[in-house]
């Protein structure tokens, strides 16, 4: 199958205080994990505007991850709850655009959870490999000019 060779592009928005440090730990501890994720550090998971997620998808991401501190641990108290509310509503809306729920993931990863981060990356990559490329074209390349 053509999908054998498909390497998903994943974008991960990681909060500075927990998840980014967790990912860093995975790195310094030399854990190996799927290299498909491009990490963007944000101050808090609550800083991720839904527009960022849409932008990531339209620019070619096959999956988007938001990762923040565990509930109760957010550096700004409420940020990750906001991320949770947005994630659930945005997931429902993305489905209406034909984007499967599995492509948009929200996780809690603490600064100590390098292993968890490793597992998420591997699992997410596998899952998106099965789903295949997203192929959003924004209405650009159809028969309009034909």
């Amino acid at each position: 199958m053509a999908n054998e060779a498909f390497e998903p592009k994943l974008v991960g928005f990681l909060c500075n205080w927990c998840s980014y440090t967790g990912a860093d730990l995975a790195g310094t501890a030399r854990m190996t994990y799927a290299p498909n994720i491009r990490i963007i550090r944000v101050m808090c998971s609550g800083r991720v505007d839904p527009q960022f997620v849409l932008k990531a998808f339209i620019e070619g991401a096959d999956g988007v991850l938001i990762s923040g501190c565990h509930p109760g641990d957010c550096h700004y108290q409420e940020g990750n709850y906001n991320a949770l509310r947005r994630h659930r509503l945005l997931s429902k809306m993305l489905e209406q655009f034909g984007i499967e729920r599995e492509r948009f993931r929200l996780e809690w990863v603490s600064a100590a959870e390098g292993v968890k981060f490793q597992q998420i990356c591997d699992e997410f990559t596998e899952q998106i490999k099965k789903l295949g490329p997203l192929n959003l074209n924004g209405g650009k390349d159809e028969h309009r000019e034909a």
Partner: protein
């Protein structure tokens, strides 16, 4: 003899006719307009043809007001012609500015729209299953129809646009202000939306009724509640697009005790009106509990259609994923 009044054109693409009505609704002011300008093209009211426009010198029309979204090859052809002949092009109304209601067609494609419209609606009576074709042979002659695109486009996705007059339809005062600014050459920088750059909530009388910390436990549709005529709609659990919508309409819907549906589009700071509204709505859902959140989200029947009611083609995605449509 009055010589050399600025020439003006009006044109319509994928629209409902309401924008033409908005020009007529200028009432007595339309006479001022007619006095100040020469209307050289206006298919709904005057009998000029495409060839008349073709015969004009490039750039000789001072301004073309174009309403409607672009979804047919014919519309694309006409707006490109008008662009070439005009000094300024103003996208007139929500459909031309953002895609508007016809833009909701971007949740489908040509095939599914044709199937629905010509074959499967309960009121369709089409035993031969005839659908429009681009080319048909009749008595040895070939008849042609414009091409119907899979995607609806905003005007500025097809031609260069100088200004935007927002609204479904644009209100008379904004139209007159725009005309005056054009006639006096007192125009804002190119690309401006000709309505104040702040949110509808900023001007809404009901804003004061918003509680200190606005939260909602359940989303209701307007017909499910007896709407309080004084209280902020969001505080009543009814979706109001005010926070993500540009002001300037005179709060017409609010005044009629209906929530804003977003026809003015977003302010300059926002790219994607739907995503912005989603963000503000999510943040007022009154719970931190995962299961509770999911329950409230379930009460929002059609988030995409509601948040992008007027702006789908201008959104970041522009349309639904093609391969998802069957």
């Amino acid at each position: 003899m009055s010589t050399e009044k600025p020439k003006v054109a009006f044109y319509w693409c994928a629209s409902c006719g309401g924008c033409e009505e908005a020009v007529i609704d200028l009432a007595e002011d339309i006479l001022k307009v007619v006095e100040a300008v020469d209307i050289v093209f206006w298919p709904v009211a005057l009998d000029f043809k495409k060839k008349d426009v073709e015969a004009m010198k490039d750039g000789s029309i001072a301004v073309s007001f174009i309403n409607g979204a672009v979804r047919l090859s014919e519309q694309e052809e006409m707006v490109k012609l008008l662009r070439q002949k005009s000094g300024l092009v103003v996208a007139f109304g929500s459909c031309s500015h953002l895609g508007g209601i016809p833009g909701l067609g971007n949740f489908w494609n040509k095939e599914t729209i044709f199937r629905r419209a010509y074959l499967t609606t309960p009121s369709t009576d089409n035993p031969d299953g005839t659908v429009p074709l681009e080319k048909t042979e009749v008595d040895g002659k070939e008849l042609t129809l414009p091409r119907f695109y899979d995607t609806v486009y905003t005007l500025d996705q097809v031609i260069d646009v100088d200004y935007y007059l927002p609204g479904c339809a644009p209100p008379p005062d904004l139209i007159m202000n725009a005309l005056q600014a054009i006639l006096e050459g007192k125009l804002p920088p190119k690309g401006a939306v000709l309505s104040p750059n702040k949110s509808l909530c900023d001007d809404c009388k009901r804003n004061e009724s918003k509680p200190e910390k606005l939260t909602i436990k359940e989303i209701k549709r307007p017909w499910e509640v007896e709407l309080d005529p004084e209280k902020c709609f969001l505080a009543q659990g009814v979706i109001c697009m005010g926070p993500a919508t540009r002001t300037g309409c005179g709060e017409r819907c609010i005044e009629a005790n209906m929530p804003c549906r977003g026809c003015f589009g977003p302010t300059d700071q926002v790219i994607d009106q739907g995503a912005k509204f989603l963000s503000s709505l999510a943040s007022i859902l009154d719970t931190d509990d995962e299961k509770e959140i999911e329950k409230i989200v379930d009460t929002i029947v059609d988030p995409a259609g509601t948040f992008y009611r007027f702006s789908l083609p201008s959104s970041i995605f522009r349309r639904r994923r093609m391969e998802d449509i069957k």
